[in-house]
Symmetry: C2
Subunit: 319 residues, 2 copies
Amino acid sequence: MAVTLKDIATECGVSYSTVSKALKDSPLVTEATKRKIKEKAEEMNYIPNNSARSLVSNKSHTIGLIWPAVDRVAITTLATQVNEALKQAGYFMAVSIDNPITAASKFLELRFDGVIVFDEGEATTLPEKITNNIPVIAYGVARKLPYPIINVHHNWAMKQAVDLLIEKGHQSIDYIGELHTKDIRQIVKKETIENYCREKQINYRLIDSGGLTETATKQAVKEFLKTETLHDGIICGSYDITMGALHHIDGLESRKTIIAYDNIKQFKSIEMPIYSVGVPAEQIAEGLVKHLIRNIEAERKNTSEIIDLYPSLQYHEKK
Amino acid sequence: MAVTLKDIATECGVSYSTVSKALKDSPLVTEATKRKIKEKAEEMNYIPNNSARSLVSNKSHTIGLIWPAVDRVAITTLATQVNEALKQAGYFMAVSIDNPITAASKFLELRFDGVIVFDEGEATTLPEKITNNIPVIAYGVARKLPYPIINVHHNWAMKQAVDLLIEKGHQSIDYIGELHTKDIRQIVKKETIENYCREKQINYRLIDSGGLTETATKQAVKEFLKTETLHDGIICGSYDITMGALHHIDGLESRKTIIAYDNIKQFKSIEMPIYSVGVPAEQIAEGLVKHLIRNIEAERKNTSEIIDLYPSLQYHEKK
DNA sequence: TACCCGAATAACAACGTTGTTATTTTAAGA
DNA sequence: TCTTAAAATAACAACGTTGTTATTCGGGTA
């Protein structure tokens, strides 16, 4: 069916091993021969067989990304960045949106070179039976795993946010975010606010956004405002939550300081200036890829390390 | 490194070909031997090598999905459904969010069995050089391609919507949707409204949502309402656009009829009852998978056919 | 002219499977 | 006990590559 090295060899009147060498620019083949072979290969639309290559070289130059919850906008940006970073490093990224164990098993069967997991807590833990056999790196909230995890330090971000509000003179803080959830990211943010505000002896309230979407938040804040008013120092748990809350915040209320948590850069077309805190997706992607590739190339066993990335504050004004 | 058939064979004191047969439950091996081998394989954590299998059988039982724009919610639902349908049919789905040509070339090298493309028009057309070598099916708006495309007939949907509004007695229609875009889906919807309303001699206005998001629509409709008012018959181009528009529509205005275009089923927690029109994602997924698998198994060449799926109207009320 | 050396190319083994063919083992019948 | 057929298992070729080893082919030198 498909064109093989042998077909090209027959066509060019050389042996197939010469074709193999020619196509990978080996110095063992004359320039003239190489040129002829390459032309012929192009003409015949030769497509290398990765299965055969992988069989002999034990390399597929493909990385599997396990991404069970394809929704969040922030993480979509991250996926794109990871794809880019991997491409740069000479690897192809194949995503599975299946459940983590199924996905990882298949990646193993396909002899991919490594696995990246968008970790969502317990349900996305890969068993050692799998992780003993392939380099893995996770992205998520710090926890003990048989493979490294990159942690964007949500609590450090929240502390920075609180510190800024204090510095700006706010004595009372409102945190708007998802409170009733199993999403570990949201839990960490919420709990950090609680603990740190107590520690700093600052008043705080937790306002449930009722979900991670703009719509949910808009509705929730509307309800909240029926009986209470918002404080001037506000921390929002995500980009979408910020957008939802902003429906009810007058752009001219310059007393207010709003800090949004997120990993994306563009906070554009917002009426009032806001702060954001988080690790840029690009930086996370780079970290994931760098660590994974290093482990692949060193043929190192997975370790339990936790790799911390520290968020930074940014100020956004409508241009 | 990894455990192979040979390792299991040595361990069990049989030949590797017997192990191969045992593991796939061939009747050529005694039950007792099979049991012993299977236990040993499990114990040794044997993971079949897909590269080797693929090399000899020319099957990888893997389908590549080309999905260059990982964002829209509706299409996320579809991806999940496609994954499910493929799994049901015994195939694994690997997604690439890279550009279509790169993705398809890699799928070819990896010797995947077929390709599904979420078509976005010209930029996502695969060249025959690729499509001559692997079964392909696209999902998008009907157009001539060297491979089949499943078309959800946006224009038929829009016509149904207009017909319903006419039937309900509305003489003037507002269409809220993305007007300035290269997204062919949006263009088709817009143009169908224009042409069909003219044909039916109905007044219509096109209101630009300024994008496909809820936020953009909310803002756009707000602007619009500063100088004009909405008609009672309203068609919204998507789920998110509907949500955006609903911010400005009083839940009690029962004179109004709102029809939302989308392929998802859940239009929940909406204040006022609305209609929706579209082909359910599940049905699209089923169509894609059925056609693709059929072509794979029949080893048929790709054809240029256009496969139409017809949308249906649904009524949604808050429960 | 015969010899040798290096350059160019060819031949071959291996990777881990599957499916076909060959060999061994088992048990039944005489 | 021997023969024979069937059942069980073993051996082998093939899939398309890569990397190593073997062979061939031209010169240049004696």
